[in-house]
């Protein structure tokens, strides 16, 4: 049993194998409350698997994954669902329901868990988060008509609509052009400042990571090879960290969310 901690997410010696392939090999990590933690690493190092452990979609072979003090592997389903109501997640492709409109997608968690809200209140809240992700007035837009960047924003709006304490991002920049990718990073940075909640970002985009993260954890071969603040990790002498950061170490200009935002089309 892990020691009590303020960290909303705590991983203690987590091991996971798929057949003969070891995906996580003794990962221990505390995600600090109210800050943004980026989990980086090359493709296939277990980043997404780690994220799925946090939300309880995958159970570890050994070790403990604790979210808000609940062990996600051993807790009864009702407790796991209670934890999930306190978090939001942006999936790689948004995981939006194509048969719903944009607004209905965002409204979905409210309809499921906030029966006390009237239709007008739900609509107002959806319009509010649509404005937060810079897509005002898109409530009625059919989901298939959204671009890749818009899908990410709508997925993000759905993740934050219930006012979660923890938001997880699975590769928020994947499949986006550099400009849209920068705009998404800027949006994450802006939400981090305005919402003040805990963010966990899974990515292999180191430039974007430095823009938004307070802490960086690097996974390699299923192991946590680096952990610390952005400055500590980017200046790490660990050979794998140096090799991964490599050509990405031409650091971007100081972050200015306003300049990274794309004008509306």
């Amino acid at each position: 049993m892990a020691e009590p901690t303020d960290a909303p997410v705590r991983l203690v010696d987590v091991h996971k194998r798929f057949g003969t392939l070891t995906v996580l090999d003794g990962v221990s990590l505390d995600i600090p409350r109210g800050q943004t933690t980026a989990i980086i690493g090359p493709s296939g190092t277990g980043k997404s698997v780690l994220l799925k452990h946090i939300v309880g979609l995958i159970k570890p072979d050994a070790g403990e994954v604790s979210v808000f003090g609940t062990n996600m592997a051993t807790a009864p389903e009702r407790e796991v669902y209670a934890v999930r109501k306190r978090l939001g997640m942006l999936f790689q492709d948004g995981a939006l329901f194509d048969s719903f409109s944009t607004g209905e997608n965002i409204e979905f968690p409210l309809k499921q868990h906030h029966a006390e809200m009237s239709a007008e209140q739900r609509r107002a809240r959806v319009e509010e988060v649509l404005a937060m992700v810079e897509l005002p007035g898109l409530y009625d837009r059919p989901t298939p008509a959204l671009s890749g960047g818009q899908r990410k924003r709508v997925g993000l709006a759905r993740a934050i609509v219930t006012g979660p304490e923890l938001v997880l991002f699975d590769e928020p920049n994947s499949g986006l052009d550099p400009m849209t990718s920068d705009a998404i990073d800027a949006l994450i940075g802006h939400l981090k400042e305005t919402l003040g909640i805990t963010f966990v970002v899974i990515t292999h985009d180191i430039v974007g990571t430095i823009n938004v993260a307070d802490h960086i954890a690097m996974l390699y071969g299923g192991k946590l090879v680096a952990w610390g603040t952005c400055a500590e990790v980017t200046h790490s002498e660990h050979p794998i960290v140096r090799r991964f950061l490599g050509r990405n170490l031409i650091l971007p200009a100081p972050h200015d969310p306003a300049s990274a935002r794309l004008p509306s089309i």
């Binding site: 939300v55 669902y81 999930r84 995981a95």
Partner: protein, 245 residues
């Protein structure tokens, strides 16, 4: 061995659904949408197939009875074969082909696009949200579809028997009526309910356990229709054996 594991997995899936379904009301709006999709949208194909099953029954019955001088019995033959066996089974096969494949492919695509994971993360049980409305909808519409299939089959047989083969209409109807008992109709309805449960659970299960990607979706869809039909035909024999054997 793998077939046994598959059946075990299906039973476990049904049990998992049952545990969550008894604790929550079904999503009403979704159930109506599914009922429309399964019931109304499957109707054209069901009517078409039922018409041609009826025409063939009359034709083959006539050809079989003419050498024996018993063409009057075509009405009885149509009633027994159509009402008791063929119409409910054809209705089930059509629903498996139309609605069952839709269920399997929709769920498989949702799995591929991480939408089922998204439901889980949003603290919505995917079995409750995806299986419950489909099951309640198919249970509501399947008996009606089976009755419609019976009616259309007999009507189509009547048309061929009377207008093409020149049989006496009142005689056809009298033989059909006296050979059809309330029990036969109720048996057809019971079969329809059993088929509904089979088609829904098999199709949803194939969707949920599909591999990710287009190939996985294709396999799941294919498995859903093939296994639903095999299980429906097997259970049809079982029910007939118990009730008529």
């Amino acid at each position: 061995m793998s077939a046994l594991a598959w059946v075990g997995g299906l039973a476990y899936f049904a049990w998992d659904w049952f545990k969550v379904a008894v604790t929550r009301r079904p999503p009403a709006g979704q159930t109506l949408v599914e009922a429309y999709r399964i019931g109304v949208q499957s109707l054209p194909v069901l009517l078409t197939i039922s018409v041609f099953v009826g025409t063939n029954l009359a034709l083959q019955g006539y050809n079989a009875f003419v050498p024996l001088g018993g063409q009057r019995l075509v009405g009885m033959f149509v009633a027994m074969a159509g009402v008791r066996e063929l119409a409910p089974l054809i209705a089930a096969a059509m629903i498996a082909a139309k609605a069952g494949t839709e269920m399997a492919s929709q769920i498989a695509v949702m799995r591929t696009r991480e939408q089922i994971d998204a439901l889980e993360v949003m603290a919505v049980n995917p079995y409750w949200y995806l299986v419950t409305p489909r099951l309640y909808a198919i249970l509501a519409v399947m008996p009606a579809l089976s009755l419609i299939a019976v009616f259309v089959t007999v009507c189509a047989s009547y048309c061929v028997a009377v207008y093409q083969l020149g049989l006496n209409g009142p005689t056809f109807l009298e033989y059909a009526r006296t050979s059809t008992h309330l029990r036969d109709i109720l048996t057809g309805e019971l079969k329809a309910l059993v088929f509904a449960v089979i088609i829904c659970f098999v199709s949803c299960y194939c969707g949920f356990r599909s591999e990710k990607g287009p190939e996985g979706v294709g396999k799941a869809t294919n498995q859903a229709v093939v296994l639903s039909c095999i299980l429906c035909v097997s259970f049809n024999y079982l029910v007939s054996q118990v009730l008529y054997g």
